[in-house]
């Protein structure tokens, strides 16, 4: 028990507390404190994460990760749902940036086009038409904020513990994880003809899957049209 990772545990608990303070509970008290605690928790967690490459790579990654996490927290805790949607959009952009950082160029733009460009905009329509003024009562309270935050703490703690054990320098959980060399990487995922390779894989190995996805999209479209068209005046 001596090698108990104090700082990650502290960060997770602090994050959970901050989350509880920031969630809408019918009052605005404690939100500032919560935001401060969340910033501290994120800083602590970030200080424990390993560095990625040289300082430029490293700072780009941490900025993107910070944008993503901060917007995710804001998207869940803001009381005005329009602001929630906007923060969610920024989280999507942060994720797209992270995708780009690993070399998944096509996914980055696909996420932006599909999620931010189509899905979120339609939801934004509904939000704006539904709530033209003020904040509704049901946006100002949440179910069991404390229990929810505790659940989050447990889930994040469990996941990060497993992740930490997986890559621990000594006694790694999965020693058989093969390390790719950078030459191998450059030959495949990071190839200059990235999209061409991706498309080749998509319409070669995964052709059946993409057809199924297409059919699924069609079925969903028809289903949505049926649901929305039911109540005809």
């Amino acid at each position: 028990m001596n090698d108990l990772p104090i700082i990650p545990i502290l960060a997770t608990l602090l994050g959970g507390l901050a989350f509880w303070l920031m969630l809408p509970r019918g009052t605005a008290r404690g939100r500032g404190v919560g935001a401060l605690a969340m910033a501290m928790a994120l800083g602590l967690a970030g200080s424990q994460m390993p560095r990625v490459g040289d300082w430029l790579d490293n700072s780009v990654f941490f900025i993107l990760a910070a944008v993503t996490i901060v917007s995710a927290v804001a998207a869940v805790t803001f009381r005005n749902p329009v602001y929630c949607a906007i923060w969610f959009g920024q989280m999507l952009l942060g994720t797209a940036g992270l995708f780009l950082f690993t070399g998944a160029q096509f996914l980055a733009v696909a996420t932006t086009v599909v999620y931010a460009g189509a899905i979120l905009v339609t939801f934004l329509f509904v939000l704006m038409l539904a709530q033209p003024e003020g904040k509704a009562a049901y946006d100002r309270v949440s179910w069991e904020a404390m229990l929810a935050a505790a659940t989050g703490v447990v889930v994040v703690a469990a996941l990060s513990m497993i992740i930490g054990r997986t890559f621990a320098p000594e006694g790694a959980l999965y020693p058989w994880l093969g390390m790719p060399t950078s030459q191998q990487l450059a030959a495949n995922v990071l190839t200059p003809a990235h999209v061409a390779r991706l498309g080749g894989e998509l319409f070669g190995r995964y052709l059946i899957a993409i057809e199924v996805a297409g059919v699924l999209l069609l079925v969903a479209l028809v289903g949505a049209a049926v649901i929305i068209g039911r109540e005809k005046r």
């Binding site: 696909a110 931010a116 460009g117 329509f125 704006m128």
Partner: protein, 418 residues
């Protein structure tokens, strides 16, 4: 030090592109005002020249005066707006409009041999800001889809009925027309085999056949959709002045309004660039600019000039269209997107795919080259589908406004007459 050198080239390119675009936008506004005036038998702006003198310079000082006016306006935020989003919306619009030019090639390459040997430049320099981005044109689509937020948030944050209606209309229009826009270019991408704009130009230059010749239907769909995406006049529903005051930017003023206006103008410039690059051969001109990437510097310069001349011609066409046709009604707008343009785009895609797959044997059988076969198929598809659309007339919906007339005025045999 190494890092700084690495960053120097992109930073230099970004500075040139942003400076050039801002100046171009300002002066294109002047050109648009001139065009508008001439088409209405007026003279247009011709007064502002050098300040404090009588020198007028045909009104070339007008953009600077306009800019100074915008910058000097009182910058206040209305009491009833949603402050944060009100500020954010024009920023989104402006930044996305600017960022779209990161993957646009402004010419071909600069050969390395015109620089002094001591600079150590071995590779030809590509005239685009982000030459390594492999997703090129989809990146522009992503930015276009983010620009919708600028519109819809601006309309909502203004807390004004006209703005909100304008914002909603506009975002519905932009989201709808992204589909034909995408369908229009799929054919080009299929023919070129790349998403990168410089590769698409290179392919057209290699074969010497511009995409508009082989895929006229794709050009039609893409052109109409890009008019709608840029919210230019036959489709300028978002800010239809006569109905919505100013649409989503009714409440804006000063610098924020300027951001919106410049962004809208840049959308038009982007659309013109895309039309030229995808369909009109980019920098390629038969017998003048050659093909391939190894060029001498006069040819490199010539390519830039040809590209920009084509873009300017396209922009003038945009401006000409503004006064040539009346605005569509909103349901007609949507009908055109969903009932005409998307089917036409699909037809184009099928024709191009078929030609790519079976064009070679067919051309050999017919005894012509593959390009000629594609061209024949493309134009036949255009004429046939246009005929079908005209016969079916899908935009004539059941909700056309009904004309009222006193009953006495109707002749007894009115049905026979009609």
């Amino acid at each position: 030090m190494h890092l700084l050198l690495l960053l120097l080239e992109p930073l230099l390119k970004i500075a040139v592109v942003i400076g050039g675009l801002m100046t171009a936008a300002a002066y294109l506004v002047l050109v648009e005002r001139w065009m508008a005036a001439w088409m209405q038998d007026r003279l247009g702006p011709n007064r502002v020249g050098i300040p404090l003198t009588k020198i007028r310079l045909f009104g070339l000082g007008q953009p600077i005066a306009d800019g100074v006016k915008f910058l000097c306006k009182a910058e206040f935020t209305q009491e009833h707006v949603d402050k944060a989003l009100f500020l954010l919306a024009p920023l989104i619009m402006f930044i996305t409009a600017m960022a779209a030019f990161a993957v646009v090639p402004f010419g071909s390459v600069i050969p390395p041999d015109i620089f002094p040997a001591s600079w150590g430049i071995k590779e030809p320099i590509r005239l685009m800001v982000a030459p390594g981005l492999d997703v090129g044109i989809i990146y522009m689509f992503a930015l276009g889809s983010i620009a919708v937020y600028g519109v819809v948030l601006g309309g909502w944050a203004s807390n004004n009925k006209y703005s909100f209606l304008g914002g909603l209309r506009s975002s519905a229009q932009l989201v709808s027309y992204e589909l034909p826009l995408g369908l229009g270019i799929v054919g080009v991408l299929l023919a070129s085999g790349s998403l990168r704009l410089d590769a698409i130009i290179g392919e057209q230059a290699r074969t010497g056949v511009w995409n508009i010749l082989t895929q006229p239907l794709g050009f039609l769909v893409f052109c109409v959709a890009s008019f709608a995406e840029a919210a230019r006049l036959p489709f300028d529903l978002p800010e239809a002045e006569q109905e919505l005051v100013g649409g989503y930017h009714t409440e804006y003023l000063g610098i924020k309004l300027m951001m919106y206006l410049v962004a809208e103008f840049l959308h038009m410039v982007t659309a013109a660039f895309l039309l030229v690059i995808l369909f009109l051969g980019g920098w390629h001109l038969w017998g003048l600019t050659g093909a391939g990437e190894v060029v001498t510097w006069p040819i490199a310069l010539l390519r830039v000039i040809v590209l920009l001349a084509k873009v300017m011609g396209m922009i003038l066409f945009f401006m000409l269209c503004r006064w040539s046709w009346p605005r569509f009604r909103y349901d007609q707008l949507m009908d055109i997107a969903w009932k005409v343009m998307i089917p036409l785009g699909l037809v184009n895609l099928i024709v191009v795919a078929t030609c790519n797959e079976f064009g070679m044997p067919l051309a050999r059988w017919m005894g012509v080259s593959a390009e000629w076969a594609m061209m024949a198929a493309g134009w036949f598809a255009l004429l046939a589908s246009w005929l079908v659309v005209s016969l079916l007339d899908p935009t004539a919906g059941g909700n056309r406004p009904r004309h009222l007339r006193p009953a006495e005025a109707i002749p007894a045999d009115w049905e026979a007459q009609s």
